[in-house]
């Protein structure tokens, strides 16, 4: 399966995308995250606060309990930040 990382999730994993073949038992987003965290401290840091991480499976928003299978495209990213009002971000609108 193809994995994609965006924004600070990407800066923590250290890579933007990779193709992985986890064992058959890794068949949900949660299980995939567990498997990834065992691969190194960058992954563990990226997934340390799951409340701050969003998931998409095949380009659709998904929960952590969603089933995944070989061939899926799975992306991890922070909540989107369209920019904020007033005293907010430089994205003024």
């Amino acid at each position: 399966m193809k994995l994609l990382y965006f924004a600070w999730v990407r800066t923590r994993t250290g890579i933007a995308e990779e193709t992985v073949s986890p064992p058959a038992g890794v068949n949900t987003v949660s299980a995939l995250i567990g498997w990834l965290c065992a691969r190194g401290p960058g992954y563990a840091a990226a997934f340390a606060d799951l409340k701050a991480v969003r998931v998409a499976v095949n380009q659709e928003h998904a929960g952590f309990d969603v089933a995944i299978k070989p061939g899926d495209e799975i992306a991890f990213f922070p909540p989107v930040t369209g920019g904020r009002d007033d005293k907010g971000s430089a994205a003024g609108f």
Binding site: L4, F6, A7, W8, R10, A56, Q59, A75, F77, P78, P79, V80, T81, G82, G83, R84, D85, K87, G88, S89, A90, A91, G92, F93
Partner: protein, 150 residues
């Protein structure tokens, strides 16, 4: 129409393209979002927008279809840039055309609220030295929330 692109855009040319040959359109509303040089009081030297190619276009197309279903639009356009942008530069634009000016205004405001809160873009701000990812904020969700049905 959806355009996700790195390069800048010419609003008048985009509107002209959208309304070319149409003599049934009464009014065209546009909203252009610009980069500001301050963020929470701190000076911003540049902003880099990252997005999820493929998913971004799908989501923008879906919200545009939603707007066209809710308001009688003759034409619509969402442009969103990504990459490195400097203060004063254009980030995005929404254009809505309708025979009914109020429909055009409401649909444009709906799309802008959605883009601000839900569009899959992440923003990295630089003050010239350090860089930091902009986090989501609740007040924007409130603005988008007023469009929820029921």
């Amino acid at each position: 129409m959806i355009k996700v692109q790195q390069q800048d855009f010419d609003l008048a040319a985009e509107i002209a393209e959208l309304t070319r040959g149409r003599t049934d359109i009464g009014g065209v509303v546009s909203f252009t979002g610009l980069v500001r040089d301050v963020s929470d009081g701190a000076k911003v030297a540049a902003m880099t927008l990252e997005h999820y190619p493929g998913m971004t276009e799908k989501q923008l197309a879906a919200i545009e279809r939603d707007a066209c279903a809710r308001w009688p639009l003759s034409a619509s356009l969402i442009i969103h840039r990504y990459g490195r942008l400097m203060p004063g530069e254009q980030i995005m634009a929404v254009v809505t055309a309708s025979a009914h000016r109020q429909a055009a205004f409401e649909a444009a405001e709906f799309l802008v609220d959605w883009l601000k809160t839900k569009a899959p873009f992440w923003k990295l701000e630089s003050d010239g030295a350090a860089e930091s990812w902009v986090e989501a904020r609740d007040s924007d969700d409130t603005a988008a929330g007023r469009w929820e049905k029921g």
